[in-house]
Assembly symmetry: C2
Homo-oligomer: 151 residues x 2
């Protein structure tokens, strides 16, 4: 039975994750969408960039904010292939992202439904709507293949 097609932004995020893997970076990709158009995107690249903050979400958020000329991404959606970590969840809150769509869960490093559960804290300044599991199989497959090849 054919699978219901993934939303275009998540397909793009998965392509970006593949690009990360090709460059030897942990395969995670992210895109920011406003009014149906991609306004920022990125893949995980801390090694290449010599930048420990260069997770896919941070790269995409910085690009989108630069494009809009505004630190707040009001009304924007973020699609990312993996559950965001504490750093990225914090950035999502600071950026006022309206809706977060993510693929695979990350029990070891996630900060949304695991660990610090950033958006559930009473002190968080902004909570996006959160939708998980979109493209989870593809996203988890990329990560599994990446780490299997390095063992």
């Amino acid at each position: 039975m054919p699978q219901f097609p993934l939303p275009e932004p998540m397909r793009r995020a998965l392509d970006l994750a593949k690009t990360a893997a090709d460059r030897g970076e942990v395969p995670v990709g992210a895109v920011v969408v406003k009014d149906g158009a991609i306004i920022g995107e990125g893949h995980n690249r801390p090694r290449e960039s010599h930048d420990p903050t260069a997770h896919a979400e941070i790269v995409a958020i910085r690009a989108a904010a630069a494009k809009l000329g505004n630190e707040r991404l009001e009304g924007c959606d973020l699609y990312v292939t993996l559950e965001p970590c504490a750093m990225c969840a914090g950035a999502i809150a600071h950026a006022r992202i309206a809706r977060l769509y993510y693929g695979a869960d990350d029990p070891k490093g996630g900060g949304v439904i695991h660990g610090p559960r950033v958006f559930t804290q009473p002190t968080v300044h902004h909570r996006p709507e959160v939708y998980d599991g979109i493209g989870a199989g593809e996203a988890a497959g990329l990560l599994k293949d990446f780490f299997a090849a390095r063992r």
Copy 2:
């Protein structure tokens, strides 16, 4: 009675916080120190940079990592005038900062001893040594004056 002098890196971080206030940004400053020398510094500047991730700590960590050509700041100390938020605490863990010295507590936005308490999570990949209260009075005073002037 004269106060015990602040460590030089925290004095520099406080100067950077003042610079932020002068530019209309929430006054927080940070420096990264390696082997006694400052290798990265920054002040809060999300508005000026159109970058929601441009907290003092992120700016300082990115500068230090670029300078070292390494995403990991092994053996480095971070001095920041305010308790880091979840985003910045996550970045500190990713950067493998050895020691974190911060000034004022931040009950509303902090992520170290408040809210998500990032470094206490079993899933955190790295925990710095944490020292608080260094220059807390000066740091809190800058924040209080900044917000009072805007009311």
